[in-house]
């Protein structure tokens, strides 16, 4: 696993020396700032709402403003992982070094999780701000971040698998966006009466329901299991995609 660590370290290094990291972070922070501003304004203007929660509850998954950017940012974070190595040919020295293909995939996945977490660190500021003007329940905040981490496991694994399959970054990003949007859209079906019969299943897949629970401080183990199993499935798929190339 020393190799996986080296690979992750290099990947994180390359991400943070590339301009893309700063563009992503800048746009992300602007977006989050706007969203937090809107939520805080909404809660400040309506005492009734404030009784039922805090702007943080709304910030973490309370509106579509939370989910739409994730569908865009996740592919941007993961698109380079393997597709870029294949495109520039650096995959060849990487795979002919004495490392297993599994450690390559795990190293890349770990790096993607570091990217993901780096997006969320600045949002701790909002928690602090909220705590200055109202009460913040530490348990709820912890659950919210746990939910965010779970989505990260799930989204980064899908992005990794698409990056393993695709020939270049653009295709990887588009594929990831399509898969994530598709899964997200399935979750939305829960709001449609015609699908009421399958609501249990849909709610299980739904990210919306997922974050609703976590942002209220409820750690629903079903969602944790779901995230981990989807992540495991797609990491395995990435490994197979990489391994299968030997035969082509």
């Amino acid at each position: 696993m020393r190799a996986a660590y080296s690979i992750a370290k290099r990947e994180v290094f390359s991400y943070f020396v590339s301009p893309i990291a700063y563009v992503v972070t800048l746009v992300w922070l602007l977006w989050c700032g706007l969203q937090y501003y809107l939520m805080a304004g909404l809660y400040a203007g309506s005492p009734n709402l404030s009784a039922g929660g805090s702007p943080l509850t709304a910030f973490f998954g309370g509106s579509v403003l939370f989910f739409i950017p994730l569908l865009v940012f996740a592919p941007v974070l993961t698109m380079r992982l393997l597709a870029e190595e294949r495109h520039t040919g650096t995959l060849e020295p990487l795979l002919t070094a004495p490392v297993t293909r599994l450690s390559v995939v795990l190293g890349k996945y770990a790096a993607a999780m570091v990217f993901w977490i780096s997006l969320w660190i600045p949002t701790v500021l909002y928690v602090w701000l909220t705590s200055q003007f109202g009460s913040v329940d530490a348990g709820t905040v912890f659950a919210s971040y746990l939910g965010v981490f779970g989505i990260g496991l799930y989204y980064m694994a899908i992005g990794l698998a698409m990056s393993a399959l695709a020939k270049n970054q653009i295709v990887a990003a588009l594929l990831t966006f399509m898969v994530l949007s598709g899964l997200f859209a399935i979750g939305l079906l829960s709001f449609i009466e015609a699908f009421a019969a399958h609501r249990d299943l849909i709610d299980y897949i739904s990210l919306w329901g997922h974050m609703q629970a976590f942002s209220k401080g409820i750690v629903d183990s079903r969602f944790v299991v779901f995230d981990i199993s989807v992540a495991g499935l797609f990491v395995y798929l990435a490994f197979r995609a990489l391994d299968g190339r030997r035969w082509q």
Partner: protein, 330 residues
């Protein structure tokens, strides 16, 4: 060091490498020679574990590459064609990373990196960003990478491609220098390269082994006719007449060379009588009272051999009519 048996690689219905068997002994420097698309890179990629063979076996240092791929990869320093590198890293950072990946013990990393920088003569650019280096430096960073774990076997895919003549000489000197302690397998389509550094050549064409042997052996192999070049200050007709007395000459062509009455003759002789041919020619010319300016044996160049082995006339059933692979004694 390398033992390859019946190696075959098929892509769909196209066969890139077909039933290739060869071996490379410890300490040898072997050149893989062949036109573009002959299957050189595909073969090297199978040796280094980047591609899986469709059929056949590879043993490196006695270890089965299929059963213990990691062990095999540990003993190989590989430089892929076109030397892909991470453009955003500094040379020394890249080499440290590669040393880590290759399992160099942590305490040895700094020393190994310094040695590789030194050997590949890239120490002067070690803090530069790889993306800003010239092609020649990038190529040598690739060689440094191959050396960084101090493996017993180096596999270099076109190590001098795209370099200028000075850089080519440097890289060749480097490889020659390494050959005392390492086994080297390199691919190239440049013939002088093979003559300059390889102890043995394996010629591939369309995925098959066409010939293998020392460069000198290949050159003399099968060449029935040899050539003598002669230059003299004389009248062309007189020279012709003098040479006509020799029965060993199969053909003679004489042409004037510039002004001042100098002529040059190209004489073809049977390889069998080459040994004494020069003396006979000298005597015949001297007896006719002509002063020789130059008389030399022309070695058949590897180019000729290579061209003869790897050019194909447009036969309709190329494969069936291809001559059986020729192999001279190793």
């Amino acid at each position: 060091m390398i033992e390859v048996q019946h190696l075959t690689k098929r892509y769909g219905d196209r066969t890139a490498v077909s039933d290739l068997s060869f071996s490379v002994a410890r300490g040898e420097v072997v050149g893989f020679l062949g036109p573009n698309g002959a299957g050189k890179s595909t073969t090297l990629r199978m040796l280094t574990g980047f591609l899986e063979p469709s059929e056949g076996e590879v043993h490196i240092a006695g270890i089965d590459a299929r059963k213990q791929p990691l062990q095999v990869k540990k003993s190989i320093g590989y430089m892929p064609e076109a030397v892909p590198l991470y453009g955003e890293m500094r040379v020394v950072e890249y080499l440290r990373y590669r040393a880590e990946l290759k399992g160099v013990p942590r305490k040895d990393i700094a020393r190994n990196v310094d040695k590789a920088l030194e050997l590949a003569s890239v120490a002067d650019v070690k803090t530069r960003i790889i993306g800003q280096l010239s092609k020649g430096y990038r190529q040598r960073v690739g060689i440094a990478d191959a050396l960084v774990s101090d493996p017993p076997l180096l596999i270099l895919d076109e190590p001098t491609a795209g370099l200028d003549p000075n850089q080519i000489r440097q890289v060749r000197d480097l490889i020659r220098g390494l050959s005392s302690e390492k086994t080297v397998l390199l691919s190239t389509h440049i013939l002088p390269e093979v003559e300059a550094i390889c102890g043995r050549v394996i010629i591939l064409d369309r995925g098959r082994l066409v010939s293998s042997g020392r460069p000198e052996e290949l050159r003399s192999a099968g060449e029935g006719v040899r050539v003598l070049q002669l230059e003299a200050r004389a009248d062309g007709e007189r020279l012709k007449a003098a040479l006509a007395t020799l029965s060993i000459l199969r053909s003679t062509s004489v042409e004037p060379l510039g002004a001042a009455g100098i002529v040059r003759a190209r004489l073809e002789v049977d390889a069998a009588s080459l040994d004494s041919a020069a003396e006979s020619v000298f005597r015949a010319v001297a007896n006719a009272g002509i002063d020789l300016r130059e008389l030399r044996r022309e070695d058949a160049s590897l180019e000729d051999v290579f061209a003869r082995l790897t050019t194909h006339e447009n036969k309709s059933h190329d494969d069936e009519q291809a001559p059986a692979p020729k192999e001279s004694a190793p």
